[in-house]
Symmetry: C2
Subunit: 509 residues, 2 copies
């Protein structure tokens, strides 16, 4: 018991250092004056290296070993020690010299990427991406894997999911979403010319704040600010912050962005208070995290009942501008489908296609079946195949995302998994909460939030994502519910018939 | 050399932890949602304890010892090692158990003080103040002292200054400022009834921002925000932030507060870039710091030339409200003298009297010649003696300041020293910059800032305050220049004759 409390105390210290770093990063993105960058970089580097040093200390390993055998099985303490042992093993598998090399390469790659994207010059980024692929493969070797080195990278973002499981899920998504997008392209487009006008930014801001309050975001345990790239961060279960950006000529961008971040934030605010500063007090992984943001943003925030409720408030927020616009027009406009070159601007129907493209390229790079120099060509070919678009330059193609410059290979699939999980959860929610859509149509979000709190948020890190999804929905992660959702919603919206019976595409256990 | 770079690296890490803590504290005061308090407290405590552990590590002592003998005398490296050795010795003199006891007592005392002040109930705070006095005396014993245990406490805030030096300085201040206040009370008061109206807060804010820019505050290396208690903090010489508060019915409060904090911030922004993360890259101490804030707030921001320059801009900021108000009226209003019970609201003529009162009580408590239970009576008697005021209750008396609840005995004198230093510096500045007041009257602040940068800011921690003041002004810290300044300015303002030749009150070497 003395050892356990020592272990908890040490873990809590490491946690505090990470949370302190998160505050410094938040400040850096939201408020920091430009000249503060140098000092801030040093401070963040010191916090990260201290956290790593404290966590990978040999004493820590000994304490974990001793507790592994003594914590009562099945208790939260035993689970916590298990999770800690997992993290400790991962952290100590990477030699310190490798971590330093990786960090240095990240910094160089990031700066090269910024320049390469600015000038749309892939050649500038190529040697850095080669280095990142090489380092990622070495990282996979350090971590170890069974089938594919890509699995070792996936593990970092979505524990317990492998490339072999993703391949059939993503193949089905690609096939059916491609067909859906083609059908929509052939259907008459909604009239959204009225969207192209000024939407005063203060009114937009106030409207998003009201929606956040309505959805259940606790402003006593968080705040919304503005930043160039919207994000969610947390320093504690009781201090979870989101950011948004407001464009004067876009009616829905700040709102849907805020709802997306709110989905992330509701998850973090919904973790158990009693798990604070323990290994269980974290989200499961990125896929489940994204399921929460997508569920709120798309399945709720882009639903017809949501707009039945909010149409009057939106009209009041923008006097006279929306007098001629009914619920149907709002619903159509917020769900307009338009294939585009840029992932972060993609709609529900095309988003996963952007992810599948990246997954296929990453996997080939890591497994050694594609060379870095062939990435632009492969990218552009896939954009043509999946979205029917021609890529004018690499800035609008393979240089658009920051992830590879950070060496975050294996991250993209979690975005699509989030969509799949969200749809699976939603089918169960609709069964569990028969009045869900009536509630949404009257602005009552609390039953939904309570369901998510109980089934998902409060679990913390007690389960893996595939296990949680199967326990809640009765099925392992699969594509069918998401495709059913898309095809029904957009079939109706665009007046096309796409009802195809779901294939057997469940993720193999 | 290897040792020196190791020593510098370790020092830089400790520095980074302190700076990270400062970011967390700033956020706590300015933005943090209320429920974040618990987690934030834990994070701050972890950062403080890690910084202490890293700094007082035995390795650190060995490295310092080895460098003490090897750094070339007179170089910045040698000075840095000297300063480090000083800090290390101070830090290691306090046993860890004592530090923990002190921290715990602070927290309890703070909460008791908040309640005691709310209910104006000294009895609630009394046992905590007794504990703080006891702990402070023990702290003095750990640190060691020659004459008075109070010297060991003063050392923490104003190194190299003793109670024996302060006593004659403060006695003279008390005598002459008391006389000045009495004379002003007998003179006709200026008509400031026009101040009592609404001063739109946005216009106040914009005006303070413009003044900050004019004075030379670098907004690329800092920012101004709002907080309940205005303060200045720094995370780096290139990230120095200030806060202010804006009252809708007070024209000068936000402005003079901003100028005050700006004086602190200009000092921090003026430290040498090359001293970053070294023991030399800090302000000398609190007295010199306060001299910078007071010099800008009072000697510049409450001068007639300053208002000659800013009167038109102020009139433009508050259309029609100031049409009948000339420079003289503004100058009189911003310098209105009104003895009050509360230190933080005190004007230039009465401020030091509040400090002298606290110094006398603190010294008596620490030297054991006054009991804590006698504090309220002593306080009230001195308020009558120095300011002619009757104290209605302890909330407006000995419970008004936070300092004692933090155990910060020995801190108050630095406020008065700041006034004295500022006046001494200003007499030298007026000699060195013959066009100073013409410059100020035309909004040209750069020559003054350059002078302060060269003579004061860039010194960093290379000197002690009394030494710096003597080197710059030719005289050790003394009361005469401040009294000359006060008596001349307020003699003119109130039409009274107070010219008394300065007594020989220099601080003994």
């Amino acid at each position: 018991m003395a050892d356990l409390s020592e272990l908890k105390q040490r873990y809590a210290e490491v946690h505090d250092l990470h949370m302190a770093a998160a505050v410094l990063q938040w400040d850096q993105e939201v408020l920091m004056p430009p000249k503060g960058a140098k000092g801030r970089g040093e401070q963040l580097s010191t916090l990260a290296s201290l956290a790593h040093r404290l966590f990978t200390n040999a004493d820590m390993g000994a304490l974990i070993e001793s507790e592994k055998s003594s914590a009562a099985p099945g208790t939260d303490d035993a689970l916590a020690v298990e999770e800690l042992a997992y993290d400790y093993e991962r952290a100590t598998r990477l030699p310190e010299s490798f971590v330093a090399e990786f960090t240095e390469a990240q910094s160089a790659a990031y700066h090269a990427w910024v320049k390469a994207r600015e000038g749309s010059d892939f050649a500038l980024f190529k040697p850095h991406l080669e280095r990142m692929v090489d380092l990622s493969r070495r990282k996979a070797d350090y971590y170890g894997f069974e089938d594919s080195p890509y699995d070792a990278l996936l593990e970092e973002y979505e524990r317990g999911v492998t490339a072999a499981q993703l391949t059939p899920l993503f193949a089905l998504l690609a096939e059916r979403q491609k067909a859906l997008v083609a059908a929509i392209a052939a259907a008459p487009a909604p009239d959204i010319a009225w969207l192209d006008q000024e939407w005063p930014v203060d009114a937009q801001w106030d409207f998003t704040m009201q929606v956040l309050r309505d959805l259940g975001y606790d402003f006593d345990a968080g705040r919304q600010d503005k930043s160039v790239h919207p994000f969610t961060t947390h320093f504690d279960v009781q201090d979870v912050r989101i950011t948004t950006r407001v464009h004067p000529r876009e009616l829905f961008s700040a709102l849907t962005g805020s709802i997306h971040e709110c989905g992330h934030a509701l998850y973090e605010q919904g973790l158990r208070l009693e798990d604070r500063r323990t290994p269980l007090g974290y989200a499961i992984g990125l896929g489940i995290h994204e399921s929460q943001s997508r569920l709120w943003e798309n399945m709720i925030g882009r639903s017809r009942p949501f707009w039945e409720h909010y149409a009057p408030a939106l009209r009041a927020a923008f006097p006279e501008k929306l007098d001629a616009i009914g619920v149907d027009e709002l619903y159509r406009a917020v769900n307009a489908v338009q294939p585009s070159l840029i992932r972060v601007e993609a709609d529900e129907c095309t988003y996963n296609l952007h992810v599948v493209l990246r997954f296929e390229i990453e996997q080939a790079l890591i497994e050694g079946t594609m060379r870095v120099e062939d990435v632009p060509e492969a990218w552009n070919a896939k954009m043509g195949e999946y979205l029917g678009l021609e890529v004018p330059d690499d800035a609008h193609g393979c240089l658009q995302d920051i992830h590879w410059s950070h060496g975050s290979l294996g991250y993209f699939p979690t975005y699509a998994l989030g969509n799949l999980y969200a749809a699976q959860l939603m089918e169960t929610i609709e069964r569990d909460l028969p009045t869900l859509w009536d509630d949404i149509a009257t602005g009552k979000f609390e039953p939904l939030l309570t369901w998510l709190r109980e089934k998902v948020h409060r679990v913390g890190r007690r389960k893996r994502a595939p296990q949680l999804i199967e326990e809640i929905t009765g099925t392992p992660p699969e594509s069918a519910p998401f495709l059913r959702y898309l095809e029904q919603k957009y079939g109706e919206l665009y007046g096309i018939d796409l009802s195809v019976s779901a294939s057997a595409d469940a993720m193999g256990g």
